[in-house]
Amino acid sequence: MQPTSFENMFKDAFENFEAEVNPQIWVQVQQQIPTTAVTPQASVTFSGVKTLLIAGVTAIAAITAAVVYKSEPKLNTLVESKDNPVDNKVEKTVAPVQSIEKVLPELIKENETQKVQPAPAPASTTVLKLPETTNESSANNDNQASEPLNTVTNQTKIKESEPVVEVINQDDKHENNLSSIQNTEAEKTKETEEIKDFNWGRISNTFTPNADGKNDVFKIHLPDANYFKATILNINGKILHEWEGENGFWDGKDAGGYDLPKGMYVYYIIATDTNGNTHKTKGSISILK
């Protein structure tokens, strides 16, 4: 079937069709535009963590990230001074993470293999990577490690290793934040959650349009609604009647004003609450006679 002039008429009519836009929409949209990568690293870690969350490896993954991130520079410096005592220190550095060791044996194995390898980076770059506290000690490392200096390194290492745990905790908090962000996102995409929050009141399911003055019309009262529109359809989905707001009702007639037979019909309500959120529901309404 080729499009005829009938189709073309519609196509032409809507070619440049525009409509007024509720300014509220831009407010909503604007809030959800992804913040683009001004600082690429930050956004990478964010999306990284987010994907991990979705993958469901949340806690373990965050800890892994923290451990890898935190332990790498340390290992590098330690490997540089190849003296035997340092090897002991490596174990000490890893020690606080032992609880994780159970969870992540593979990761630790990887770290161990890294230990055996000679340090790839020159001393100067490693110094740059280190936090201020370790600067002194690693600079001293260049002068070849003597006993007292080693103890200094040891202390700084321990000092540093404690915060690792804190970092992990912080990451957990961060996760909570993230999940709450996700929750709000989910709310914004509407669906069932919102419907729970919205009080639909008691919508009747039968009425008797026989002009006896009792229950002759189908009315809807929505305590939470700022505005609503109700649509009545027959079971084939044909729209029979529509109204807006609490003053409207359905008298059991079709769009042409003719009485409809008894039986089941469908109502569909779209309501806006005082916060401007949209809620929808549907149900059945029977005409009894």
Binding site: M1, E7, A19, T278
Partner: protein, 175 residues
Amino acid sequence: MDEQQLVTNCLKGDKTAQKQFYEMFARKMMGVCLRYSNDLATAEDYLQESFIKVFGKLSQYQFKGSLEGWVKRIVVNVVLDELRKNRILFDSNAEVTDVLQTTDDVVSNMEAKQLLQIIQRLPTGYRTVFNLYAIEGYQHNEIANMLQISESTSKSQYQKAKIQIQKTLKAQTII
């Protein structure tokens, strides 16, 4: 500023550019959303979802073809997704015999706003297929794919939509 520059600025996080981009298409896309819905609130929902998606996907825009076409495809996809979520029903009895005479002259004299009202009064299934076929210009096999229905259902829905529109048009000219 050309479209490419505008998109680039939007991606950089330039808020003015993002607003400009939105204003460039919002009114037109609202027109599209209205055609696919039967009330304002739903159309506004569609529009909002669409633009959130548009900005989310903007980095994927290849600068091929018209930007407006790209935006509109996203809008239509969002609408269809929403319809799928609400599980609209397409009645699939394909027998359509009742073909009315065309009322082209009537259509050509009508404003888009009046036509919109007629389209909005169609059952959702009819309306969706009618939009996709008559206005967006998709073929029935494409529509069948998009809506997960058979090609014959798409055709019969379209025929029924057309008949109902023609009936309405006739009634309106009599009045």
